[in-house]
């Protein structure tokens, strides 16, 4: 077995763990950590397919990951700022207690 499926399986496990954490935990910061794990799993897929792909000299996978890291950093900054702003209003970071807009 060549290593490519190994990397893909590692990425799939990380994605599932992040998704499970984002859906199951009640703390909003941990939901954000789960989203970060899912983004990183996707990045690992890009790098693996770039390495084992047909045209590695095009650098497409590498550059996609670089831009993805930049976007993820922006997402983390804004997400954590939102969580801090919400904490000021509700004095909680639990997603099941933020029910002000619930119908």
């Amino acid at each position: 077995m060549s290593p490519l499926p190994g990397y893909l399986l590692l990425s799939a496990f990380l994605f599932a763990i992040g998704l499970g954490g984002a859906l199951m935990r009640r703390n909003a910061i941990l939901v954000l950590i789960g989203v970060e794990l899912m983004l990183n799993a996707a990045n690992l897929n890009f790098i693996a397919f770039w390495r084992f792909g047909a045209h590695p000299e095009a650098l497409t996978g590498i550059l996609f990951v670089i831009f993805s890291i930049g976007v993820a950093a922006a997402e983390a900054a804004v997400g954590l700022a939102l969580i801090i702003a919400i904490y000021r209003h509700y004095k909680t970071t639990n997603v099941d207690e933020m029910t002000a807009l619930k119908g």
Partner: protein, 186 residues
Amino acid sequence: MTLSFAIIASVTVAAAVAAMGLRNIVHCALALTVALAGLAAAYLQLDAQFVGFAQILVYVGAVAILVVFAILLTRSGDPAHPSVLSPGWLAGAVIAVVVLGVLVYPIARSPSISRTLPPPAGATVHQIGDALMGRFVLPLEVTGLLLTVALIGAVIIAMREKEPIGTISNPGSEIANRKSQIANPP
């Protein structure tokens, strides 16, 4: 190659499970750091040195610190909840397992299993810089704009809001205001 990959993969998955499963949220953030460092090691093993070190700089350096700061700023004094799981956790677990199955099944069945490792590609920093300044210059500029907007937006969102007029958040200044109003009627 295989042994080092096995070590990196098991450490990364174990750290990710710990990051999502531990009770103490600070421990979760530290486990997340280990998982991200493991991913950086996987990038280095795949001959993507630049991305590996960028991952360490951005994620292990900046994002982890940001998460720890957010945790410490939102720590409340009241005792922890009896459960760390949200009410709909069972549905979330089922969805995660189904997604894992959907992802693993095609990987196990795909012909990529027989794909052999091509010779090292060698993505040097020189080549990456050439591509960033040539073919990918527009995405680079857009990313810079996005980061600027995110920086300003994060500061504005997290800034303490001004209290609306009439609330007595600072009784001393309120009394001083009233006194000046009485002294100088409009």
